[in-house]
Structures are given as C-alpha cells and as structure tokens.
C-alpha cells in the first residue's frame, strides 16, 4: 500500500473512533405508524388562521418556535370554522361539487375531534350557503352553542338552523333583504338589513321562529355603513363604520337594541381622514377594549386597504386608551385571550404578533401559501 494512501486511511479511522466516543449509542428505533395528538382544550396562545380556501391552520402564535400544530381542510374559499367551548368538537361548514368545480352541489358541516383533528361526524345541509370571503356572521352558534346558524345567499337571504348536538337540520328561516346572523339573546340571531335596520329572530328549542322584531334604521348604507367585523363585549356588538364611528347593538335580550353612535376620531384626526380599513378590522379582549385597524387619508374605495395603526378604545368611556403603530400595515387583526394578550396582525405576507398592552412587536410568523386576506380566530 502506498504510504500516502496508508496515511489517509489511518486519519479516517482515527476520526471515526473519535465520533464513536462522542456518540457511543446509535439513535433508537422509531415507531411506525406515529401520529401526533393535541390537547382537548387548546391553550389560549393558539389561534386558527383561515387561509381562505386552502386550509385552517392551528398555530402557536405565542412561541418563537412558530409551531404549526395542525390543519383542517377547506374545500371552498368560503368555508367557515367554529370551535366549541362547551364540548370537544370543531365545526367546519363547507361546500363541494361532485365534479370538482361543477356537478351536484353539497353543503355540509364536518365535525372534528379537537384532540386528533379527525372527522367524527357530518351534517348535510339543504344549502345553499352564501359563498363569500370569510367573515363574521356566516356561521355562528346560538342557544349556548347547541344550535348552529348558517347564512344562505341565493341571492335571496335565509338562515339554516342546525342542531349541532343532535346533528340534524331543524329548518330554514327566510330573512328577505337582510344578511348574516349574530347570536342574540338566549336562542336567536340578529341580521343586518338593506333598509338600515337590524332584524332579530327568536327561535324555540326546535329551531322554529317564535318572534321577529326590527329596529329603527341606524345603518347609513350610502355614506357610513358599518363594517360587519365587530367587537363583542358583554353581549354588546361594537361595529366600526366606514367614516370612523362606532355603532353598537345590545344583543343580550330578545330584541336588538340600537345604542348611540360614537366617534373613533377627534376633529383633528377626522381632518386627516383617519378611518377604519382592512378586512377583519375589529378585535377585542372581550372585557372592555376594542381594537380597530385604522388608516389615514381615507377616501372612497380605501376601506379595505391595509392599515398602519391599531387604535384601542375603552368601550365604557368611549375614549381611546392607546394608539399602536404597526411595523407593517395590517389587513386583519385579532387579540388572544391569554393573561398577556397578544395582538395578531395579518399582513400581506405573514402574521405579526405584538404585545396587545404595550404594542411592542414580539415576532413575525411566515404564512406559506397565503394569497388573500384571512380571518383569525384566537382560541377561547
């Protein structure tokens, strides 16, 4: 053996012996199959992110590890998700066609186990669900989460009432000229109407209508309509309006009560044309604070552009308590419900996470596959 080759082999041997000394045991055998599970009750530092047609991603937004904890499939860009706080179930309302983009249409609610994210049931709906960008009021609970309400749009309007515990459809309620469904009272919902009013429908335990009432007109649809993204605090829904006001509806009783409108902006800010804008423009700590995504130089058509600031209001005093400048303009916002709440801000490329109290930026999560605006659902 040539001397040079012999030297080379000796060097390799010594190096291998050194590595074997550092790692005396091989890696253990690993089991197959092996599937992760999740806790039955998710931490409040997690959130579901609606990728609008691709999936619902369960993400740990409270960790610098940025972990994706799991995904639920969405077949249609308009799929809607509800996470029960009363029983271990997640509900996903969706739509498919038998031949992909055409053929027989089926609307349904899939029921998932939160621990395994596996399907544990399905309720086929008479349809047709309203197919529109993800937003509040298209799929909601009422009756302490026993009933589910699906907003239908054909373009006629109706609400399908579903017994989520009994896993059956109870009926359909026509709401001509009105849209969406916000839980109201013990067992009912309120829809927003083209006449500028709100229609409240009361249901019995079997999902039958037992009463209807309509408010006076409050929604100035021509010039200052409400955003349908609201902040719910003590059963009062606070809706920002396009011109920078707040219109509140008390939905605690059998009828919606229209509360006085108040302004988010001072006269000086109004002169600079500060106004709400984005997609999910409102968020709340569910105690007293309302967060609103704001942009200056508002004009006709700017109501969905990303906003550079989030303004925080105490809904009791109707005063602003802080003004948070974002590191990047935001499209949708939400607030987590943990002891140190985080403000979640979807941007055009990712999710910026802030300390909701101080406004300090904490981290940015990449959102691969995001190509549109999203609806963020923090875990309760």
């Amino acid at each position: 053996m040539p001397a040079r080759l012999s030297l080379l082999l000796s060097t390799v041997l010594v190096a291998n012996l050194a590595v074997a000394e550092e790692f005396p045991n091989p890696l253990p055998k690993e089991p197959i199959p092996n599937v992760q599970t999740l806790p039955e009750h998710y931490p409040t530092t997690w959130a579901f992110l609606d990728y609008s047609g691709a999936r619902f991603e369960l993400r740990n937004v409270g960790s610098d590890a940025h972990e994706a904890k799991g995904n639920l499939p969405a077949r249609e860009s308009t799929a809607a998700l509800l996470v029960s706080t009363q029983r271990p179930e997640i509900y996903l309302a969706d739509t498919v066609w038998s031949r992909g983009s055409f053929g027989t249409r089926t609307d349904f609610i899939d029921i998932y186990d939160p621990k395994t994210l596996t399907l544990k049931g399905e309720i086929v709906l008479p349809g047709p669900r309203g197919l529109m960008s993800p937003r509040e009021g298209t799929f909601t609970f009422t009756d302490s989460e026993r009933l589910g309400l699906i907003f239908n749009f054909t373009p006629g309007s109706a609400v399908t009432v579903v017994d989520l515990v009994g896993r059956k459809v109870l009926g359909k309620v026509d709401i001509p000229g009105c849209s969406l469904a916000y839980p109201t009272g013990e067992r009912g919902f309120t829809a927003l109407c083209q006449s500028g009013t709100a229609l409240t429908v009361r249901l019995d335990a079997h999902g039958k209508v037992v009463g209807r009432s309509e408010t006076t007109a409050f929604n100035a649809l021509d010039n200052d309509p409400v955003f349908t993204s609201s902040a719910l605090i003590n059963k009062v829904r606070y809706f920002p309006t396009m011109q920078g006001n707040v219109q509140s509806l008390d939905l605690s009783g059998n009828e919606a009560k229209v509360l006085p409108k108040w302004s988010l902006v001072s006269p000086e800010e109004a002169a600079q044309h500060w106004a709400p804008g984005g997609w999910q423009v409102s968020a709340t700590d569910e105690k007293r604070l309302m967060y609103v995504l704001m942009h200056p130089d508002a004009r006709e058509g700017s109501q969905k552009i990303p906003g550079p600031e989030v303004w925080v209001f105490d809904v009791t005093s109707q005063k602003r308590v802080s003004r948070l400048r974002l590191v990047r303009p935001g499209v949708s916002i939400a607030v987590t419900l943990n002891s140190e709440p985080m403000l979640l801000v979807q941007t055009t490329t990712g999710l910026d996470v802030y300390n909701a109290g101080t406004g300090a930026w904490l981290r940015t999560l990449q959102l691969p596959g995001l190509n549109t605006r999203m609806l963020i659902q923090p875990i309760h």
Binding site: L131, M132, S133, T228, G301
Partner: protein, 182 residues
C-alpha cells in the same frame, strides 16, 4: 438583470413546488457524481449575447377614444368598483367572458366616471364562471363597495349564480347605461 433574477427565482420556486426535497437532492447528487467522471466538452452556444430582456405585455386598447385606457390594467376607468381577476387576461374582454366560461346574470354594480366624456356610467361587474381560476391580473379598487348588507354593492360575494359551475374565473365591467351625476 432584474427580470432575469425574477425569472430565476420563479423557476426555482416552481421547481421547489413540484419536486420533493428528496428528489431534488437525489438529482443534484447524481449530477455532481456524473460531472466528476465526464470530460469537459466544448459547448456550442446558441448565442454569445445575453438572452433578450423579458418585457411587460404591451398595453391593450379598446381602439375607441371615447373608451380610453388599458383594459388589462387596474386603473382602467371602468374598474373603479372592481375586486377580482380581469377577464382581459383570460381570453375575455371588459364586456365578454373567456371561451369555456359562463357569465353570471346577476352581480354587483358600481358607478364610474369616464374621463373621456366626463359622464358617470353604471358598470355591471358580471363574474365569469366555470373556467380556470389562475389568479392573474388581480384588481381591487372597491369604490362604491358597501358590504354584504347591501349585496348589490358587495364585491366579496361569489356571484356565480344561475350558472352550471360556481367556480370563479374572472370579472367583466359592462356598461349598463349612464347614471345621474354624483
């Protein structure tokens, strides 16, 4: 050079999206291993000059001076209430759907000012349904959008009603007539 960088990035991203990590590593490994055993051969280059620069598509025109602007861009006057993909990028036009799709008969409307004759026109943004949703030529201006509470002024609804397919392809911007001035 910028276009070349973008092209390269697109190629690499496209390759990444179609190829698993294992397969790309395997291919690179085979190429590297093979390279060491192959002699370096002279390569006949098709051209010694740098490849032609990629340019943007040329602007479209209606050919009618009373209907000015480029209908393949979002700032074309009829698109003031638009939110969607422009049908001019899919084989359709401002007032027709691409072949193979079907036009929804109901939709949302807007009011846009024509800069040539300074008139306000009512524009119907009929969706074209049943074709390929490519995501090209996205345009969002939202003037006059008032949300789902007034559905005829909501551009976030999938308006493929009364069509065989409810799969969205693109949106047109059709003149319904003149409006009373704002």
């Amino acid at each position: 050079m910028k276009h070349f960088d973008q092209f390269t990035e697109k190629m690499v991203r496209g390759l990444a999206s179609r190829t698993s990590r294992r397969s790309i590593l395997g291919s690179v490994g085979a190429f590297v291993a093979g390279a060491s055993t192959l002699p370096l051969l002279p390569v006949a280059r098709a051209s010694e000059t740098s490849p032609p620069e990629l340019k943007d598509d040329p602007p479209l025109s209606t050919g009618n001076p009373q209907d000015p602007g480029d209908p393949s861009t979002c700032d074309y006057w009829r698109y003031c209430g638009m939110n969607g993909s422009l049908c001019t990028c899919y084989g359709g036009s401002t007032n027709s759907c691409p072949p193979g799709t079907e036009m929804s008969p109901v939709t949302w409307i807007g009011t846009c000012r024509n800069p040539a004759d300074n008139r306000e026109y009512i524009i119907s943004y009929n969706d074209c349904c049943g074709g390929v949703a490519g995501g090209r030529c996205q345009c969002e201006r939202n003037e006059g959008d008032r949300g789902v509470v007034r559905p005829s002024k909501d551009n976030e609804i999938l308006w493929c009603f009364g069509t065989q397919s409810q799969s969205y392809t693109c949106s047109t911007a059709i003149i319904l007539g003149t409006a009373i001035s704002k």
